[in-house]
Structure formats: structure tokens, C-alpha cells
Symmetry: C2
Subunit: 154 residues, 2 copies
């Protein structure tokens, strides 16, 4: 695993949520995903295509954390995961990937982003099917967990 | 909606399942997704990036259909959606998108594919967040339903 490639995604999520929603996430150490299954309630997914590599990213939120972010951003807490919440998760996915893209571009790794997809459904699991290792970064917060998964083809 | 852009995905899924798993799908007419929510049990998702456009595709299967495809391909029916099933759904997603990419390339529409992601979880929903219309193509079969959703930014 190339840490240089993974840390920009970690930094970018922490920055985006801190700026947009005054929500502090604490990241655990990124690790290679093996048998681990991370369950989530709402996930943003995006594809990445570059000249050197291609891959996929997901950001999964527990429902409580997603609703908390909405409340902090809009002043009102939705009752559950509705279209406004999935729009926000899609937007966060775009911003986090865009932030990481900028940081990686400065290091000479270029890629273009596809458009995001948001999955909702209690306790779903995400399986990245690229050829490279699947890296998982768990995040903790007062209102629940999130995690990023990234997989690039070698 | 540009039918020329959507039909290759429809044709490609029907071809792939007929060839790989002797499974006949009947497609309904593609339509713009509005309030419609299509629930599924296992979905393959992939991002697409091209010089003219970018977008995302999903193929969602009901569990019974996914298990039936596995049984027809491998001679053995898994008890539920396991890693072998998600691998197969990822592979089908790649093949369908690759088939459509070839057909569209002949018409001058070029794009590159990211790597697939497979989501599992009973009754999840998929929300494409690109700017363009979301097109949904429902498919019926003897063992259950599938549907493709495609969204391209204009």
C-alpha cells in the first residue's frame, strides 16, 4: 500500500466535514481490508480513471452521523435517510475525491472522476472489485462511524 | 434521453446473461427515472469517464435471479449472496459496460471505465447523482427482476 496515495483521501474527508458541518472525525490508521466487513446505512461511491491507474472510492456513514451532519449544515434534522441526505452524501463524495485529486495531482498522480452514486439501505456492504489491495480507513465521531474504502488497480 | 446511448447497455446485459448463464432476460422500455425506487439485493456499479461526458451505471439483481445465474454458471447454487456472487456481479458489470463501450465507440462516443464496486444488502436503493437524466431499464426473467440505471452528465 502506498500511503502517499491514501492519506489525501483521509485528510480530505476530515477537512470537508470540519469545514462544511463543524463535525470532527478522528481517523484510525488506514489498513488493508481482508475479511473485514464494514456495514453502513448510506454510502457515496465514485469511480476514478487516470492514465496510470483506475479505481473506486466509497465513503460509508452510519445513519446517526449522516443525520447529524445534515442537522449541522441545515439547522434541521431529517427523520431518516431521504433524498436530501443522499444528495449531501453525493456532494461530500465529490468534494472529498476532488480534494484528494488536487493533492495527488501536485504529486504527479492524475485521474478524472466519474459522477457519484449514493446507496442507501440499512447495513449494506460495499465490495470494491479492482485488482489492487482494498484500503479501509475507519473514522470515529461523537455521532457515529464513517469509513472510506479505496481500491486502485495496479 | 438519447436512445442511441442507452440501447447498447440493454443489448449488452441481455447478451452477457444469455451467453454466460443461459438466462433469458426480457427488457421493458427504458424510461426516465423519477420518483421510482427500485429495490435490489445485490448491485454492480461502475463509473465512466470520457472526453465528451462522464457518468455512472448500476445493474441491480434480486437475490433469486443472482443465485440462479450462479447456479447456471457453476452448477451449484450458493445459499445466499456471498463473495463468489459479488465477484460474479462485478464481472457482469464489467462485461456489460465493456460491451456497451465497444458499441458506443463505433458510433464515436468514447469513454473509459473505472473499476466496479458491488453493493450487497437486502432492499437497498441506488441513487445516481450525475447532472443528466437517470434512465432506468427494467428486466424480467423466470427467476426474478434486474434493472440497469444509467446517468450521464450532459
Amino acid at each position: 500500500m502506498n500511503v502517499e496515495f491514501i492519506n489525501p483521501f483521509l485528510t480530505s474527508l476530515v477537512n470537508v466535514l470540519s469545514m462544511m458541518a463543524q463535525t470532527q472525525l478522528t481517523a484510525e490508521k488506514p489498513r488493508i481490508k481482508k475479511d473485514e466487513t464494514a456495514l453502513g446505512d448510506v454510502s457515496g461511491l465514485i469511480g476514478m480513471v487516470g492514465p496510470q491507474t483506475k479505481g473506486s472510492l466509497s465513503i460509508t456513514f452510519e445513519e446517526g452521523l449522516a443525520l447529524d451532519i445534515m442537522e449541522k449544515m441545515l439547522g434541521e434534522r431529517p427523520e431518516g435517510i431521504n433524498e436530501e441526505v443522499t444528495d449531501m452524501v453525493g456532494e461530500i463524495t465529490n468534494m472529498v475525491t476532488g480534494g484528494a485529486k488536487n493533492m495527488l495531482g501536485e504529486k504527479g498522480y492524475e485521474f478524472d472522476m466519474a459522477t457519484p452514486i449514493v446507496v442507501s439501505g440499512q447495513g449494506h456492504t460495499i465490495n470494491h472489485k479492482g485488482d489492487g489491495p482494498k484500503v479501509i480507513i475507519p473514522f470515529n465521531s461523537d455521532s457515529g462511524k464513517a469509513h472510506i474504502e479505496v481500491c486502485f488497480d495496479k
